[in-house]
Symmetry: C5
Subunit: 304 residues, 5 copies
Amino acid sequence: MLTKVRYSVKDMTLWTRWETSGFIAYSFLAVFLYEELELTFLAVPWTPIALVGTAVAFILGFQNSAAYGRIWEARKVWGGIVNTSRTWGMKTKDMVTNEYATEPETEAELKEQKRILVYRHIAWLTTLRYAMRQRKKWETFDNHFTNREWSNAIHIPEKVLPIEEALFPYLSPEELRYTMDKNNKSTTLLYLQSNHLRELKEKGLIWEFSFLELENLLQEFLTFQGQSERIKNFPYPRQYATLSYIFVMIFIILLPFGIVPEFSKIATSLTDNFPRISEVFTWLAIPFCTIVSWVFHTMQRIGV
Amino acid sequence: MLTKVRYSVKDMTLWTRWETSGFIAYSFLAVFLYEELELTFLAVPWTPIALVGTAVAFILGFQNSAAYGRIWEARKVWGGIVNTSRTWGMKTKDMVTNEYATEPETEAELKEQKRILVYRHIAWLTTLRYAMRQRKKWETFDNHFTNREWSNAIHIPEKVLPIEEALFPYLSPEELRYTMDKNNKSTTLLYLQSNHLRELKEKGLIWEFSFLELENLLQEFLTFQGQSERIKNFPYPRQYATLSYIFVMIFIILLPFGIVPEFSKIATSLTDNFPRISEVFTWLAIPFCTIVSWVFHTMQRIGV
Amino acid sequence: MLTKVRYSVKDMTLWTRWETSGFIAYSFLAVFLYEELELTFLAVPWTPIALVGTAVAFILGFQNSAAYGRIWEARKVWGGIVNTSRTWGMKTKDMVTNEYATEPETEAELKEQKRILVYRHIAWLTTLRYAMRQRKKWETFDNHFTNREWSNAIHIPEKVLPIEEALFPYLSPEELRYTMDKNNKSTTLLYLQSNHLRELKEKGLIWEFSFLELENLLQEFLTFQGQSERIKNFPYPRQYATLSYIFVMIFIILLPFGIVPEFSKIATSLTDNFPRISEVFTWLAIPFCTIVSWVFHTMQRIGV
Amino acid sequence: MLTKVRYSVKDMTLWTRWETSGFIAYSFLAVFLYEELELTFLAVPWTPIALVGTAVAFILGFQNSAAYGRIWEARKVWGGIVNTSRTWGMKTKDMVTNEYATEPETEAELKEQKRILVYRHIAWLTTLRYAMRQRKKWETFDNHFTNREWSNAIHIPEKVLPIEEALFPYLSPEELRYTMDKNNKSTTLLYLQSNHLRELKEKGLIWEFSFLELENLLQEFLTFQGQSERIKNFPYPRQYATLSYIFVMIFIILLPFGIVPEFSKIATSLTDNFPRISEVFTWLAIPFCTIVSWVFHTMQRIGV
Amino acid sequence: MLTKVRYSVKDMTLWTRWETSGFIAYSFLAVFLYEELELTFLAVPWTPIALVGTAVAFILGFQNSAAYGRIWEARKVWGGIVNTSRTWGMKTKDMVTNEYATEPETEAELKEQKRILVYRHIAWLTTLRYAMRQRKKWETFDNHFTNREWSNAIHIPEKVLPIEEALFPYLSPEELRYTMDKNNKSTTLLYLQSNHLRELKEKGLIWEFSFLELENLLQEFLTFQGQSERIKNFPYPRQYATLSYIFVMIFIILLPFGIVPEFSKIATSLTDNFPRISEVFTWLAIPFCTIVSWVFHTMQRIGV
């Protein structure tokens, strides 16, 4: 979803090559029927088509705006995870101390406790990353042949390495086993963090009020996790997506029957000066229809 | 409101079959009067109709945008309930302890207290779910025949199981009776939670400052509950909905009188080459009008 | 502002009957001059009018969008007052206790203190409600004859019962007198709450940290009150409202001179087949102009 | 920026009288060249102009939407200052007490301390108000002759009374002198507040935790101050403003060459029936062009 | 990105001189082919082009709206940094005291500690500023010749002074060396701040609860830093940018073939009255095409 390279025109062409072929074939058919078989009754007045086109452009505009809003929100959530993770590092570093301890620990032992807290946090990040990569049934991205092609071209680590191995360096063997048994691994790890904090507090290694602060950081992580899941699980409302798809298809289906007659009219007006060009001029409707169809279809495809 | 399957074209057709029939009948009538009875004065200049169409498309665009905003906000509230519920689980688990107790309780007793807090929370979720399913008088969803059909097809547990039975496993008999007597059951349950927390605090099972944190979680639940009620109780402002409905109907009523003459013109131009097709060509205005009416009407229906 | 019933077409017609009559009269005049007095020079090219119409539709779209945003925000503020009021009930109930008191009070006395806190809160809600109903000089709602009619039809308690009587059941006689003397009654009541909390804290009936929490709730009420006042006192910027009104009037004034000639053209084309209808056809421009004017004018009126 | 009276049509006319005169002169010129000197080649096809007009209407719509957003945000900030100022009053009133004091002060002394805190707050409000009135170099408001006229008509106290006199009643002589020496007077005053709170805390007149709460209120004031400065200092991005200005000018320059020929066509068609009117009809393009230019130009001017 | 001067028309012209030349050349070519070589078959019906134009205007509108949103958000983040920096100054000033110290420090020593905290904060601001100036590979700004020219004209200190020298006055030699070794210098400095606060707290120079408040300020700085990085690192989604670029290019490529024939028609109609002007009239399509292309292209370029 978040790609960073600039797409070249070539990429765009490749990515949309199937639809483009379809549009060419369809407008070829329309011109062929109208021009060669002279079925000139295959005509639709242009102005109502333009009205439908304007209405569809509106809808696609709003849809793209909503899609952009979703991407932007997703980016904010991940940005928030980064910020709060850094805060986690900073606060555990300076809030796990011997200051209030009844039986002070050695420096090494304190360091070990901090290491566990940070590594378990990395484990949480890992489980969250894997959860975000799971396929949902309405994610039609991979169904589309060219999308599948695309995602094969880029390397996705979550599809290669099993989650257990990815978590191995960051959790103790017992915690790893315990986590793997659970359904929602991310929530489990945050509960383990909370439990650990509580033990440290009871030993006096964390001051009671620092404990409250750190618990609130865990609450923030739960919130970010829930937001990620929400954006993942709640697609653009299906009724809108379906409808805008149908509208675009209706527009594309009507288009050639409105455009071909217009080109035909120009062709007729050319008969005197350019008899040979006049014969083939109507065929120029093919690239023209293809371009307009492509613009609308790509706008729709990108916005879902 | 939150459906997750992709609608097929067939679903769409079924769902809108009554309007579609109406549009077909209406445009049939228009063509019949114009073509068969030759009442060719039933014509309206097209360009002002196009202007009305553009204006209506604007309004529908904004309306859909607002409707999407409402769905998205609803989804955020429910997401927030999920996150804070997990936090409730985490914090009650690690904040109900013997650490500050004057007379420590047994481990089993502590566990029981935690169980009650969590089960009562589930009861709150249940009452909230039931409250959200109650019908409001402006929810015209069920009035529409095809919508009723649709909602019969999907199983809604809240319409089958009485709320008392749904709450039974999660509350003690006294609390269940007490809650059932109250009007706003959700608020009642949160007040019971608060009361319980206070008792635990007075026994020293919850540290005084943890008590403040947990009370603030209850405040968050009250906020989420109020937000759910607000979204439920405050529909899209009626004056807008009525107006956009009237605008769409005006547009649909005018449409055939603008489109039929345009088709008729093309028909006339075909008389020489295709005498037979020319006779029936104007009837093609029927599918065309139907499609345009359907696009605008469905946009309006989906946006309310 | 927040009406909940669905407006029927009849309501709409009644509500807008004066403008509608004006539009009918105006377009009648235009047709009369053009058709009967044959002042056919009263014509304006249609396409620039269409451009003005599109621009105006755009402006009205944004204006309605902003108006909807304001209503929605107002609804959020009132929803927030509901949520925080419930929290106030919950927290005063469980935070006013004998636990930290130096000289414990009787249960009845504690209950009385809680009652005063809650009743004074109801008094605050009442003063806020009355403040929201006061007329501001830019609220032109009542100036419009049909709006006044409408607001007479619905019963508004704030216009019937004086505020002093409305507050009587909720305040002690001294506090009532003290409040009535003040200009901003709502702020006064919250200051009284704060003062009361402080006394309870000094007696030890509220724990010092609970006092901070409750003070913060009062701060939230001050915020909600200020937000209500802001939405009440800051209308949709006047320059926008004036401008969109002028734009709509320009469009409506130009409209008949663009539409009547178009109908006249069709009328001319009907002379051969329907000589009698041809004579009266141009008069059909009257309902058509009226409808388009009505659509734009109502959009403008509803959006302010 | 925040005016509350409804502009009359007369105000609007006065405010825009220079542009309006310009538009009249310009379209007069266009008609004169076309009609009197018969330079009928001064014609531009209308449809591309309409496209430019639509595009410009879009841009102006978005620009006005952004401008409205800025006004609304400014209003929120000032509303927030009001709310938090009331909270400041409430909290200083009930948090400066003898309760935790080692050496209790007299009631009069306590009252004096509270008075100083509130008066210094009023001084802060004053400095902020003056800072908001300072002119920035991109504020072209006063450059425009009619705007200057307008602002002379309304009385602005900040331009009459020097800031030193305005602050005099609210600060002690030393603090006044200290503040006047500083560049950012508002920040200075909040630092003085913080210092004062600290002294009160050290004497025990403010409980340590109340001190934290009050410091956080000061932080809120710093935030509101910064937001005011941001809105003041960060105008609508200049590149957008420049561009939309250029677009509108292009549209206005092209307009008469598209409209005059259209009127001329109608004039020609009137030659038979109304020979005298036909001669002057084209001159009607002048008011028409003026109105359309005025609509677009005023939209642009109001949105910046 | 945040420029404050008003662009003059001259600046605009210079900045876009390359595209403008291209548009002139391209439309010259189109007119030349059509008019001189009389290849009059190089014509495309205008109305579908207008539809594409409207759709493109809509997309550009949304894109500019999103771009404005990003600039506005960036401005908010920097405004937030200013506000919180002032708070940092205020709170360190009044929270680093001898009040809770076990072994009080001299006034000079306290002042030195505060100085270090404030200077290290300035160092953090510096590293953040440098990080924001680093080039990213999708920032095509400098690739564009005229943009590079522009940025050479304004002096950017971050490109002249190495970061080490910029930090030198604000950090001790050891901290400077330590920071320069790290990858994310800003995070490192905030960790150092946290560590310093902790030491001060352990010496009792900061009260334990003030320590929590100050740590939360550091958390805010981490958040602002992360937000800056997010806005810097997450460009406007590339697929949108690419698509809107392609759409605009398609529109610009089609444009002359729609406009030239329209001018040619007018030219023909002028043959009788102005034979000489008629010959050259079609060439007027060049400035016209150039202007329309320029409007759309500049809208696109400014919005990315």
